[in-house]
Amino acid sequence: DTAVSQTPKYLVTQMGNDKSIKCEQNLGHDTMYWYKQDSKKFLKIMFSYNNKELIINETVPNRFSPKSPDKAHLNLHINSLELGDSAVYFCASSLDLSNQPQHFGDGTRLSIL
């Protein structure tokens, strides 16, 4: 069973569109994250949620809106997509907010035409 799964794996769309990426974890973790990895492979945190509450919003444009319906899910909705949004987006989870290892999904590669 996949621990952290995100869909879709690939997303190709046009500038200006709205899209969503879904993430689910079956590890029973309290904390979930969204990261963006750019073309230079730099992995940067965007959001973190703990027990469905927003903990970190790392100065991400408000076109990005995370939603956590329950502890096991953290979805990412992006409005008015821009060329600079092209990247790989990773979802991750950890037991809690303390110094715990993080478990990552395999990423969603978003390409904006």
């Binding site: 903990i55 990773f90 110094n99 478990h103 990423g107």
Partner: protein
């Protein structure tokens, strides 16, 4: 601001040798540090965590050191194998988050 540097160039070594990867940081005093492995097209996978009061941590062929005076962590893979080829990321503890380095690509040749 906090800065984390890893070898920006790829590291190429021969099978059987020990690979040593470096993670340096500045303007920062993390309480712990983690190392991850990332394969192409996959998410990072956790390998080891070391705390500031631990000088060294081992797991099978992997060894991590943490020198808070030098502000440096070294990651060693002994008896390296082609299957160890991947990008290795160090990550430092931040406030309720991890701060990742840019990673070092390791290539192990037969």
């Amino acid at each position: 601001s906090q800065k984390i540097e890893q070898n920006s160039e790829a590291l190429n070594i021969q099978e059987g040798k020990t690979a040593t990867l470096t993670c340096n940081y500045t303007n920062y005093s993390p309480a712990y540090l983690q190392w991850y492995r990332q394969d192409p097209g996959r998410g990072p996978v956790f390998l080891l965590l070391i705390r500031e009061n631990e000088k060294e941590k081992r797991k099978e062929r992997l060894k991590v050191t943490f020198d808070t005076t030098l502000k440096q962590s070294l990651f060693h893979i002994t008896a390296s194998q082609p299957a160890d080829s991947a990008t290795y990321l160090c990550a430092l503890e931040g406030t309720d988050k991890l701060i990742f380095g840019t990673g070092t690509r390791l290539q192990v040749f037969p």
